[in-house]
Symmetry: C2
Subunit: 138 residues, 2 copies
């Protein structure tokens, strides 16, 4: 009774591992960029509407039109999260009605540049992944 059981040791290992994950920078980054709308907003602000231009500010409504299937709730929520993390800046011009523009910060720009490596890998290798997938299923 005084010794720890195997179940207790497993529980402790889980807690330690979860703590490790909570502190891991890579995990935190993944948690942020693994959101569907985060990556799409970063791409829009970083490469323009056609995904092949230069970074430029965009208005809420422009983003809403571009990411056609995003709900207002998710667009606002995602923009707030990115602003909170210092990845984009939000600028309100006191016109009537108000004009709000979003723009990548230098930090956001840096993240966008990193994402290009990911995009390149996808372009180079996803065909192969898809082929494996089809072969496995067949």
């Amino acid at each position: 009774m005084a010794t720890t059981t195997a179940a207790q040791q497993r529980a402790r290992a889980k807690m330690e591992y979860d703590a490790f994950l909570a502190a891991c920078p890579s995990r935190k980054l993944l948690d942020r960029i693994s959101d569907k709308w985060v990556t799409l907003i970063l791409a829009a602000l970083g490469s323009g509407p056609d995904c092949a231009g230069d970074p430029r500010p965009m208005r809420y409504s422009e983003l809403s039109r571009l990411l056609a299937s995003v709900s207002q709730k998710m667009l606002t929520q995602t923009l707030r999260a990115l602003e909170r993390d210092g990845l984009i800046s939000r600028t309100v011009e006191p016109t009537v009605p108000v004009t709000v523009t979003y723009e990548l910060t230098p930090l956001g720009l840096s993240l966008h540049a990193m994402m290009r490596g990911l995009k390149l890998w996808a372009q180079d290798h996803m065909d192969e992944v898809l082929a494996h997938r089809a072969a496995y299923d067949g």
Copy 2:
């Protein structure tokens, strides 16, 4: 009545955008790596238990111990998905009881190398993100 309404045009834009996303290689890649356990298994097989060594095969039970808080269901499910995509290979040795080892394929190794860029960005910049987050909340 014969002309398309604004609502219909929006619905069409959404469908087109969803179709674009479904075909986008980057999106497919993100869909795969944004899974919590996928990245952890890739890291384990690609860098060893300490996340700083060389790629090496690992057994099911070894992965299970290392990723202490993964459930059997998710471990098996994730390993199957990675095998399906040609990112890892599964080898069964007919011992009693059976021995199963998992190993990164060249394709998986290539993905693991790409993920290192992500890890580097995280190490270099997540502090800044976290600082922004704290400032925004305070």
